[in-house]
């Protein structure tokens, strides 16, 4: 049997295993291709705390200098900090060195365009073509630009959040927060921000030394330590960041993970209470977000899956809040990026404004259950399967922009082929867990028939 490839070069960047497929030569070439693609100007770089970060960074710097770009090196910082600084420093682009939730042996490059947004699929394809052609801009020695070590980036990020949202309003006693940074890029700035907002912070896993205290994805099953700490310290809320600090999950005052789909719902509740405007999320987002938008009489727009699709639509609709159901909150007044720091500030403001525990806040919108499953399906069969489902559910409203989403009377389901594996993903949501499971079971039955 063929070895499982560990290198993934795609429109979302290049990702691989260090010591195996992610070699310095490959990284240098990608940096050259990116520099060649975006042209002369400054490139902002930042990395998460992975042990391979320094090697990857040096390879990337060599490539960017060779293609004539100036480098602004933020050191270790969250991905949204890189995106923010690209905009604030009016840079030509950015490279975030992080494999987000992948395990410790992985690393990756994510490419950011001049507005601080990730390259969209068209731009990424253009850059990949340059990479594969292998003809990169090479400047002479005297045109090689400088490397600026810029240490203050996370402070600027923190200050930007404070400037826009302000400190928490006075409450009878300070909001008590347990923060689990997963020893990730948010380990330093996370606690600092919460203190600056006026919260009482109990930090755990804030040693950014490249070790992973838990799997990096902030899924309920990975948050045991945080749940225990929230209960032990009688905290009002628990926050979990991932390795690159873009996604945020929440644990209630009872120590229960509320589900990463609801981070955006709570953030939107606060934003819409202060400012009405369009909300943007992807097709796979909980209906609770629609309910919240509706309660504030704000329109909601659902996009194809992918952060860049959401940010594109947010720009188009002049959205006031947006994001993804995986815990990614995008608040354009601060940053056009999934930003766990912004997410924490918004949710804490909501807590302080409402003066209610998280469990109570969750009752202010109908409760839903989401069930997600993967089914094995060869990629060449995906189109046939989707067509068949479309015919089967012809009587229901259907959205076919990304796979097929069917609105049922008691909920919805979304079926789409994976870009990375020979599977189709099924997501169903209904008022109760059993109803959601029934929907998935019905879909499976049709697929397997």
């Amino acid at each position: 049997m063929r070895a499982i490839p560990t290198l993934k070069i795609s429109i979302s960047g290049v990702r691989g295993v260090v010591g195996d497929s992610l070699t310095p030569t490959l990284l240098t070439r990608f940096a050259q291709a990116f520099g060649t693609y975006i042209g002369p100007g400054a490139i902002v770089i930042g990395r998460d705390p992975r042990t391979s970060g320094e090697m990857v960074k040096q390879a990337v710097i060599a490539g960017m200098l060779s293609s004539g770009n100036r480098v602004i090196d933020l050191g270790m910082c969250p991905v949204p900090t890189v995106q923010l600084l690209v905009r604030l420093r009016r840079a030509q682009g950015g490279i975030a060195i992080t494999a987000s939730h992948n395990p410790a042996e992985w690393n990756a490059l994510k490419f950011i365009g001049p507005a601080g947004l990730f390259l969209d699929s068209g731009q990424a394809r253009e850059m990949l073509d340059i990479y594969h052609q292998g003809e990169y801009t090479k400047v002479n020695g005297n045109e090689i630009r400088t490397i600026e070590e810029f240490a203050g980036a996370t402070d600027i990020h923190l200050q930007t959040i404070l400037d826009v949202l302000g400190p928490l309003p006075p409450t009878p006693r300070p909001v008590r927060v347990v923060l689990d940074s997963c020893n990730g890029a948010g380990s330093q700035v996370g606690p600092k921000l919460l203190e600056a907002l006026g919260a009482e912070v109990i930090p755990i896993n804030v040693t950014p030394d490249g070790s992973f205290p838990r799997p990096a994805e902030p899924l309920p099953e990975n948050l045991g330590e945080l749940r225990a700490a929230v209960k032990m310290h009688h905290a009002d809320i628990g926050f979990a960041q991932d390795m690159d600090a873009d996604r945020l999950a929440i644990v209630s005052e009872q120590g229960t993970p509320i589900g990463e789909d609801y981070t955006l719902v709570l953030a939107a509740m606060y934003v819409l209470s202060r400012e009405r405007g369009p909300v943007v999320a992807n097709l796979s987002t909980t209906s609770a977000l629609q309910d919240v938008a509706k309660s504030f009489e704000c329109p909601i727009f659902l996009t194809k899956i992918g952060e860049v699709n959401v940010t594109d639509e947010m720009e188009k609709q002049q959205a006031v809040i947006g994001g993804e159901g995986n815990g990614g909150v995008i608040y354009p007044r601060i940053n056009f990026a999934r930003d766990s720091l912004v997410g924490m500030a918004l949710v804490l403001h909501l807590l302080a404004q409402k003066g209610q525990p998280v469990t109570e806040l969750m009752k202010s919108f109908p409760s839903y259950s989401i069930v997600k499953q993967k089914l094995v399906c060869p990629s060449h069969r995906v189109a046939t399967v989707l067509k068949m489902l479309r015919e089967e559910y012809a009587g229901y409203p259907v959205d076919a922009r990304d796979g097929i989403k069917v609105m049922l009377h008691n909920g919805w389901f979304l079926v789409r082929g994976s870009n990375t594996e020979p599977v189709i993903r099924v997501v169903a949501e209904a008022g109760s867990d059993s109803e959601a499971r029934d929907i998935v079971a019905a879909v499976r039955e049709k697929l397997e028939a």
Binding site: G19, D20, L27, V56, A59, E105, G141, N142
Partner: protein
């Protein structure tokens, strides 16, 4: 054809053309693989491409599982000394020495502070070409260590070798041109420690090279002017990385780069009898100097690694090359221009002689050097054809490195450069006219 030279002296090319970051990454990976991880020092000269090559080298070394200590900008001999002191397993110097600013290169140093010898260099090249490098995994890969001020240690070693001179009259006034190279950080400090009054020019490592970083009379006009205006007792000119040294007398006369080794050898043999190690392209004045003191001369092929090996093998008291590189074993077995400065200044201050007095006492020979650019695909054929034509005339020759023909009153050496696609011709004769005739004789027999 574009200039790129991968050979026993490392890898050398023009940044923006042939010397790409991938090439630097690949060679660093190969070197890290060759040394099987371990502690590696890196340093660089002041070329504007230095930071780019440095990042590429760091990425390659870290990826190969090395522990990397970055000395920043410093002379190559400073790094070579630090290897032993910091107990490193090797080093990479990012410098193209005397080449113009457009160039850069990697030079590979082993655990004893000397360059890889030709056999080791070939082994490294095989690993590079095979391209199967050691790859550290996430739990073994490390971070770079920045080392501050490696120069202090170099100064300490130099001070031990040349105890502060006892001045016969007053402190010497020394002019020095650092060419805005790595010696900007070493040479003024060394001269001050020696108690000299220092007139320094071109000591800004951020600025471009003010002239070619190759100390020879053509590049020393500014230094001559400073020596005269400042009434200096001597002037010294550095290359970019602290190996070659040029000298200007107190009269403001720039000396040929061939004279540097002659001066150093004359001083050394006056102090200590023994063997001089030099290459076959260097002036035969060296034999004449050795003869005065009944010393011996060992001739090697051209290249610093051969001088170092010759010094080791023959226990030489001094080594060097006609290019201005001098090796003084009390400091280290590799060219070190700061060591040469120490030797010369110590002698001048103790003897009370002027540098021009010493030059007066040297043998007078006329040397002519001539380079011919040759397409890389013809370089060794041109040499072979010259050898055949010499054989055809039934002349005796030495082929240790290229072709060296000894003729009545002088000699001719024709060889391929180690660093550029060039044929280098050196002729020497007792008179200037004779040297010119020898050069013409040679050019007649070279078909490029």
């Amino acid at each position: 054809m574009k200039p790129l030279k991968i050979g026993i002296t490392g890898v050398r090319g023009i940044v923006g053309q042939t010397f790409t970051p991938e090439l630097a990454v690949g060679f660093a990976q190969a070197f890290g693989t060759y040394l099987d991880g371990g502690r590696i020092l890196i340093c660089r000269d002041t070329r504007p491409s230095g930071p780019m090559i440095r990042s590429a080298v760091l990425a390659g070394l870290l990826s190969a599982g090395c522990e990397v200590v970055d000395l920043g900008v410093c002379p190559t001999p400073t790094m070579q000394l630090a290897i032993k002191w910091l107990e490193a397993d090797g080093g990479i110097a990012i410098t193209a020495g005397h080449n113009p600013w457009q160039w850069n290169a990697l030079k590979f140093v082993r655990a004893d502070g000397l360059y890889l010898n030709p056999r080791q260099a070939e082994e490294l090249l095989d690993i590079f070409h095979q391209a199967e490098f050691t790859k550290a995994t996430w739990d073994t890969i490390t971070q770079t260590i920045q080392y501050r001020d490696p120069i202090e240690h170099h100064l300490d070693v130099l001070s031990q070798a040349f105890s502060s001179p006892t001045f016969v009259s007053q402190p010497q006034v020394v002019a020095v041109d650092c060419c805005n190279g790595a010696c900007s950080l070493l040479s003024p400090r060394w001269l001050e420690r020696l108690g000299c009054e220092v007139l320094v020019i071109n000591n800004n490592p951020q600025a471009p090279f003010p002239h070619q970083p190759e100390p020879k009379p053509e590049t020393m006009a500014q230094l001559c002017a400073v020596v005269k205006a400042g009434h200096a007792d001597i002037g010294f000119a550095h290359d970019a990385d602290g190996e070659r040294l040029g000298i200007v007398t107190e009269r403001g006369e720039s000396l040929s780069e061939e004279t540097t080794l002659m001066i150093a050898a004359e001083i050394r043999l006056r102090q200590q009898l023994g063997t001089i190690v030099t290459n076959i392209s260097t002036t035969s004045a060296i034999e004449q100097i050795a003869a005065r003191y009944s010393g011996a001369v060992v001739r090697t092929p051209v290249g610093q690694t051969y001088i170092s090996e010759g010094m080791l093998e023959h226990n030489g008291v001094i080594g060097g090359e006609g290019s201005g590189g001098v090796t003084i074993p009390e400091v280290q077995l590799t060219h070190d221009s700061a060591a040469a400065i120490g030797l010369i200044l110590q002698y001048l201050s103790r003897s009370g002689q002027r540098i021009s007095d010493l030059v007066e006492q040297l043998p007078r020979l006329s040397v002519l050097k001539h380079n011919i650019a040759v397409e890389p695909n013809r370089l060794y054929s041109v040499l072979q054809e010259f050898r055949e034509s010499v054989e055809g005339e039934a002349l005796g020759y030495d082929n240790v490195d290229g072709v060296k023909v000894t003729l009545p009153g002088g000699w001719v050496h024709v060889r391929a450069s180690n660093t550029e696609s060039m044929i280098r011709i050196i002729v020497e004769n007792e008179g200037a006219g004779g040297a010119r005739q020898l050069l013409d004789w040679t050019l007649d027999r070279l078909r490029t």
